[in-house]
């Protein structure tokens, strides 16, 4: 998702802007077609994609537990989303609006197949049902990302409870704060009203209220095209907290715990890449040149990252591994997520490579140094990669670096302009967003993990852990070859 720059700059600047006549909202079947498929792609990147990427890395006795966790999280989040999640995230929260939405759209009240949702172009809309589904897939994958951090040693009951709480108290608020806004036409109307208001304070306040009725972080002017903050940093830090609260796997560091099927991991990684185009390009909500930009960035950043990890591992560890390369690819995907619609291809490629190297360092060195057991490197890849991407977005958006520039919906209401780039402003907004998310999700997740532990107990008995969660918790075996 994009945002409006001018907010940072003095709104007075608007006075100059010409009056603007609202264009009748149009829905293009091409946009709808693209968004329908983009949504499907994001689902595919979660199931089977993410499930296999994670599942392949655990021991076969825990394979099904991972698959079950991911699939269950997706299903339960779907139910929560249409019940109250969408409303809490994407509706006006009244007095609480800068933190969370309201319940006016609970059970999708008032939405039908004629309802439409705004895109990032004035006058261009898509069916609201598509928007709800697309956003739903984001809500589904985010908690699923977390489970990798404490795979092979968590109680299913506990996990399900945690995830339901987590989306409610961590994901929905953050998503609302970063992505909820009135849309281009509201801003245009607001700007016009402001211009017309002259010195009439009441009118000025009304207009400003209209312009600023957005999420807190959005109003800071932070950029997050497809969810670097909302999805990856958010889930990544929750994962770290989780693996610390739950503790290490029995035998961690002592027994060998090789991935039981790198084939599944490779399939998963590939589907993640494939599906990620729905994730990043789809985040443009339209089918146009910016969408294409998001796509090419998602290609080159990932490729650059995969190649970077491949070679650095070859150099430092002596052998180029498949697991290393695909991990790099995922790191690149994570890093480019917030930047996908803002950076230029060359910037994105460099970003991918850099993120890959840093994540390599975190997964292979930092983790061992501190000895926490982030089983599948959720923190090392998603949180770290997400932070690098979020910060880099504030730099690469600069047109001078081939970026698409900071969108500005206000200076000329009804049109999309590029705002002048000011490093300090753009970069600080990113820093604030990152820190805020780390804090909110870190603290929130800690509380929720403790709560889950209190109620259900987070960890299975040692015997269960030894036997494997598949048989003990789900009564099934992954393979009977």
């Amino acid at each position: 998702m994009r945002y409006l720059s001018k907010l940072a700059a003095p709104v007075a600047a608007l006075a100059a802007s010409p009056a603007f006549a609202q264009a009748a909202p149009t829905v293009d079947k091409g946009d709808t077609a693209f968004m329908l498929i983009a949504t499907v792609l994001v689902l595919m990147m979660t199931i089977p994609g993410l499930a296999l990427f994670y599942g392949g890395l655990v021991r076969s006795k825990n394979m099904l537990s991972v698959l079950t966790q991911v699939f269950a999280i997706v299903s339960i989040t779907c139910v929560i989303w249409v019940t109250y999640g969408y409303s809490l995230t994407f509706s006006d929260g009244g007095s609480m609006n800068s933190y969370i939405g309201g319940l006016s759209k609970a059970f999708l009240r008032g939405v039908d197949y004629n309802s439409i949702a705004a895109t990032f172009s004035n006058g261009v809309y898509i069916p609201e049902y598509v928007y709800i589904c697309f956003q739903m897939t984001f809500a589904c994958i985010t908690p699923a990302l977390i489970v990798g951090a404490f795979a092979e040693r968590v109680k299913f009951s506990s996990l399900i409870f945690f995830c339901a709480m987590w989306v409610t108290f961590v994901y929905f608020p953050i998503a609302h704060m970063v992505w909820w806004w009135g849309g281009p036409d509201t801003l245009a109307a607001g700007a016009t009203a402001l211009a017309a208001a002259g010195t009439d304070q009441v009118a000025i306040d009304a207009a400003n209220a209209m312009i600023f009725a957005n999420g807190k972080i959005f109003n800071w002017g932070a950029l997050d095209f497809a969810g670097g903050t909302v999805v990856h940093i958010n889930a990544g830090i929750a994962g770290l907290v989780g693996c610390l609260v739950i503790g290490k796997r029995i035998g961690h560091g002592k027994e060998a715990m090789p991935p039981h099927s790198l084939v599944m991991t490779m399939i998963g990684a590939s589907l993640l890449w494939v599906g990620w185009f729905g994730f990043n390009a789809g985040s443009n909500l339209e089918s146009n040149g910016i969408t294409a930009l998001a796509m090419i960035n998602t290609f080159v950043a990932t490729a650059g990252a995969a190649v970077a990890w491949l070679f650095i591992e070859w150099l430092l560890k002596g052998k180029p591994s498949l697991l290393g390369m695909v991990t790099g690819a995922v790191a690149g995907l994570v890093a480019v997520t917030p930047a996908s619609g803002f950076a230029g291809p060359m910037g994105a490629m460099v970003l991918g490579a850099v993120a890959s190297v840093v994540c390599f360092f975190f997964c292979s060195t930092v983790k061992n140094r501190f000895g926490y057991d982030d089983s599948l490197d959720v923190f090392g890849v998603h949180c770290v990669g997400g932070i690098i991407g979020a910060l880099a977005t504030g730099i690469l958006v600069n047109t001078a670096l081939g970026g698409a520039g900071i969108p500005d919906y206000l200076s000329q209401p009804g049109t999309l302009q590029v705002a002048p780039y000011v490093f300090s402003v753009a970069f600080m907004a990113q820093v604030k967003a990152v820190l805020f998310t780390l804090l909110w999700s870190g603290v929130g997740s800690f509380i929720l993990f403790k709560l889950a532990d209190l109620i259900f107990g987070l960890r299975p008995t040692p015997d269960v852990e030894r036997e494997g969660l598949d048989l003990a918790e789900h009564g099934e075996r992954a393979y009977a070859l």
Binding site: G251, K254, E255, A256, R466, L471, G475, E476, R477
Partner: protein
């Protein structure tokens, strides 16, 4: 020479191997087996169908050793493989008449 066959719990394998190496065992064979014994199995449910599985995964160690080492090895095995819980396994000893190292053709204890 004797053939020592030991059935133990899978997760004990590394520990046992190290202990044996420590006391000078230079070679052995490991195979995965399904064990049946006092230790209870588990039940699996697939939709309508329920299966009781009586077998428990175990690993079987086979090593041929000079007679004079048998006692020491048995002791090491019992100590390291023991958890005190049912299913710890067994150790059996059989007599071996001859041993040959393929590479060199050496026979008898030299072959071990």
């Amino acid at each position: 020479m004797k053939l020592i066959i030991a059935v133990i719990k899978p997760f004990k394998l590394e520990e046992v191997r190290e202990a044996l190496t420590a006391i000078g065992v230079q070679g052995l064979m490991v195979s995965e087996v399904k064990g049946y014994g006092r230790q209870a199995g588990h039940t699996e449910i697939y939709r309508g169908a329920e299966y009781v599985v009586n077998f428990v995964p175990k690993v079987k160690l086979e090593l041929v050793v000079p007679d004079n080492q048998v006692a020491k090895i048995m002791e090491t095995l019992t100590n390291t493989a023991r958890t005190g819980k049912i299913g710890d396994g067994k150790i059996f000893v059989l007599d071996v008449e001859q041993a040959v190292r393929v590479r060199t053709g050496e026979a008898g204890e030299e072959a071990l």
